[in-house]
Amino acid sequence: MTAIPIRDFLLLAPEIFLAVAGMAMLVAGSYGRDNGGNGHRGCSVCAVAALAMTGGLVFWLQGGREVPEVILSGMFVLDGYAFFWKILLLIAATLTIFLSERFVAEGGYRPGEYYALILFATTGMLLMVSGFNLLSIWISLELMALSSYILAGYFKHQLKSTEAALKYFVLGALSSGILLYGVSLLYGATGTLELAGLSDALSLAVAAGDGQVLVALGWLLLAMGLFFKVAVVPFHVWTPDVYVGAPTPITSFLAIASKAASFAVLVRIFYQGLAFLTPDWQWLTAALATITMIWGNLAALTQKNVKRMLAYSSIAHAGYVLIGVLTATEDGQWAVLFYLAAYTFITAGAFGTVVLLERRAYAGETYEDYAGLARRAPFLAASMMIFLLALTGIPPTGGFVGKIYLFAAAVEAGWVWVAVVGVLTSAISLYYYMGLIVQMYLKDAEDTTPEPLYAPGLLATVGLCAVITVLLGLLPGPLIELAKGSLLPLP
């Protein structure tokens, strides 16, 4: 007779609530033969309300914890770290819904399905960042990934979108398989899947001698699966095509929420589960961070399409974040938290601008389409300039502060050469971000250049992101304090 862990389920109420809200929306949206059109506003309001209520529940039930609490026999953990990510992910999902308004209305899709999928993906992410067992982490990751595959292919009649979904699905399934293979080898070597005991079990297995190869292969495969999810070179090949093919609000969702959640899990697994192997994964991460920063920035140089450029830029930024991960110090860790939080607003704003300028499916995404934007839409151009400056890492923006702290943490921890590569590649990135600013401010528009859309909700979202980006650059203190209060124990 198993005792029913009622208290544990109550503590997990935010995630359960969000899943139920998603299902309710799915069913409610399936009534009637009407294909989109009217209900989209109601659905987006409901989705935002569901996310807000989940946020409230997270604050009420999971916030303010000094000591981590492990629930459901070691499946999930509630700590300050998970709390930080959950709030960030809920904000990211809300921003995505704000950006989706026009896409859902124009596409004629059933709004209930679209928002339900976003809610399901968000549920997966929330569970993921709380996961404390390799299997519960893997299942939550799949919940996020499966919903994302469908969302990436949401332009059902566009070849590019179908291609994006297919590539994402095939490579995503492969990487999940690799990740699971690694997990199974680690389980074979140690007999445990719980992050809490994994590190000690690993050291025992290695000390015993016979488990060495299993452990080495296991953690390498596990790390590869995680690196795929955060799109690090050489596991990045899916990123540009998926980011370009997916509908832009979804691209933004993948770039901010999916990436943040995957980084949260990566740091948790490295710091807590693989603590024993710290020098090993530090070297691997340093090598991959270097290749990623160089390749991501060089590849972005040659892009003509803004969405594709932002895709390569997101690869490069994954490299910068890895710098903070590999330090394995407190400074590095809160710099990662701060950077990804700032990156969420910057990237959501940048993709919001793309949404406002693109036309029917994929038109209006090239650099030339941004010519003379400063005269045609001064507010939008100014916001986009702020995002691009922040992505480059120029003050006074959140991107600058985040990069400074990442590089400083690396230098303090003795990884000077990685920080040097980071600074040099940031200088390279100036070229392609500036290219877009030059188009907006110094070039004249042709007659054929598309006019930006007038959508007050979207404009307000972009403006909000711009304001937050600047605020994080001028007053980074509060967010830094918040990040410092949400750290994992060091490996």
């Binding site: 007779m1 198993t2 029913i4 799915l26 399936s30 190869v213 292969l217």
Partner: protein, 118 residues
């Protein structure tokens, strides 16, 4: 670093296996091209029509997918039913939650007309 030498060997063996098997296939395979080689295989008989002469509704695919879902559901019910008294109330509630989620999916496909055969 010595721990990682077996991994390197593992990777090299994987690459080597790929190269060797592809080369072996190239050396030993029957060189014939065209003729009956390109025909669809139909249990040794000559094919009397092409695959795209027999179109069938995409609905079969949908029905098959839906069938798999509810089939798997039934498979999950069996072990639960066998262990019913040991899983007790907790198992019962868990299974009801599982079924409720599937019913949501069922209502959804019903409403979207995936079960209409017309």
């Amino acid at each position: 670093m010595a721990n990682y030498i077996p991994i390197l060997v593992f990777v090299l063996v994987a690459i080597g296996f790929l190269i060797v098997s592809l080369m072996a296939a190239r050396i030993f395979r029957h060189g014939g091209k065209g003729g009956t080689n390109a025909d669809p295989y139909e249990c040794g008989n000559e094919a009397d029509s092409l695959a795209h002469d027999h179109r069938f509704s995409i609905r079969y695919y949908l029905i098959a997918v839906l069938f798999v879902i509810f089939d798997v559901e039934t498979i999950f019910l069996f072990p639960w039913a066998v262990m019913f008294d040991r899983l007790a109330l907790f198992g019962f509630i868990e299974m009801m939650v599982f079924l409720a989620i599937l019913v949501v999916g069922y209502v959804y496909v019903w409403n979207r007309g995936a079960l209409d055969w017309a």
